[in-house]
Amino acid sequence: MTEYRILLALQYFKEYRESYSISSLMQKLGLTLKQVDSLIDQMIDKKLLKYEDYLLIITEKGRRIIIANNMQYYKIDNNHQNNKIFIDKALSLDSPYVPNRFSKKYNA
């Protein structure tokens, strides 16, 4: 389980780069602060993450682990690159979700 969490966290740091945040990692992995904190400490001890220029970054060893586990194309958050700044309010449960540019694809 820990190995799997480490893989997801590695992917998170690779994807988010300088926009990572501990609370967002907590939400993505569904973990408490204590769990995320200890996970990051373990990753630093294993030299998968390091601080460089005041920011936590994934190391070469961390990147190799992602590739070795065929996770290089996996996305923690598919919308991250497209919607970097999330500002819209969450939809209520009874509102249908309409994907971006749905009408364009539907008409085609």
């Binding site: 300088e18 926009s19 990572y20 945040s21 501990i22 609370s23 967002s24 907590m26 939400q27 408490t32 602060l33 204590k34 995320v36 904190d37 990051i40 400490d41 630093i44 601080y51 220029d53 005041y54 920011l55 936590l56 970097k84 700044i85 999330f86 500002i87 819209d88 309010k89 969450a90």
Partner: protein, 314 residues
């Protein structure tokens, strides 16, 4: 007529480009912009064009004292803050000090988590003296601790901190509190110092930036009261709700961080409406009705209990 219009468009373009470049120069030392600054750069011209001409100078002056902290800048400040703390208070050590943060009762994923977690790692503080919840410490442990260091991004009104201390007043009595924040408002310091004096504990502030309320600065072309009225009018025009115009508790703050914008910041810069696509949007999630009902029920029960006790005593 067309020539005049094109001159006006050109003037506005030059002006907005200058504001953008001045702001980015002040906030960012790197060549690469983060997501928030990219967004600011992309949005600024459209956002600024919606501000009426008579208020544009007010908004420009406000932007001159607006502080944005990128992740790198915030983390660099966390390192500087620790140096300041240890140099100013050399008596702090692993035996008499703990490092914690303002823990909200309801939400696990507050931004204070981020700053506390990064602070202890950047400054290599022993995990034995970093505490997620101060209430987890037993009486014996607490009796040995004389100093509590609270880490946070900002202290804008001081109210969250006062409420946190009030709800744990036994834990803070006879202790020295060190509030370590990147950004602090003068009013918050005054309010917290008064509160500390009344409750017999010591409070010290370690910060990078200290600011006054936005409309107490003498920076406007107009009198500051007129500037405030113009700002209120433009906020109403952009459909900002009354209680959001000058920020929570009317803090009149001007700050944004890489992970969010505090709700104490002036509304037009962070509050999204149908007519306002703000420069530093605040991430906001609407709480379901049952969330506030739970709290209301608790308050109702306490009030009924007190009434019952009161009746019995009568």
């Amino acid at each position: 007529m067309l020539v005049m219009m094109s001159k006006e468009v050109k003037r506005l373009h030059v002006e907005t480009e200058k504001i953008i470049s001045d702001c980015i120069k002040r906030w960012n030392s790197d060549n690469e912009l983060d997501d928030s600054l990219e967004f600011f750069k992309d949005q600024f011209s459209i956002w600024f064009s919606k501000i009426p001409e008579d208020t544009q100078s007010v908004v420009c002056r406000l932007l001159e004292i607006f502080d944005y902290y990128s992740h790198k800048r915030a983390n660099m400040h966390l390192s500087q803050l620790h140096q300041k703390l240890t140099q100013s208070y050399p008596f702090l050590n692993n035996d008499n000090t703990i490092f914690t943060f303002i823990k909200s009762g309801n939400s696990e994923s507050k931004s204070s988590n981020d700053y506390w977690s990064e602070y202890k790692r950047i400054n290599q503080i022993s995990h034995y003296i970093c505490c997620i919840d101060i209430k987890d410490l037993d009486e014996n442990q607490l009796s040995k601790i004389g100093n509590i260091v609270l880490i946070d991004d900002c202290c804008a009104s001081g109210n969250s901190l006062i409420n946190f201390i009030k709800s744990n007043i036994d834990l803070f009595t006879n202790k020295s509190i060190f509030v370590v924040t990147i950004h602090v408002m003068e009013n918050a310091i005054t309010k917290l110092e008064d509160f500390a004096n009344k409750n017999n504990f010591k409070i010290n502030f370690i910060y990078i930036t200290k600011r006054m309320k936005a409309f107490t600065h003498k920076i406007f072309k107009y009198d500051k009261h007129i500037a405030k009225i113009l700002f209120r009018n433009v906020s109403k025009l952009l459909e900002i709700p009354d209680n959001e115009i000058f920020g929570r508790y009317s803090s009149e703050s001007l700050m944004a961080f890489y992970n969010n914008t505090p709700n104490n910041t002036l509304g037009v810069f962070r509050y999204k409406t149908n007519t306002n696509n703000p420069l530093f949007p605040r991430r906001q999630e609407v709480k379901p009705t049952w969330w506030s009902m739970k709290k209301r029920n608790k308050i109702q029960k306490i009030s009924n209990y007190n009434k019952e006790i009161g009746n019995r005593n009568d």
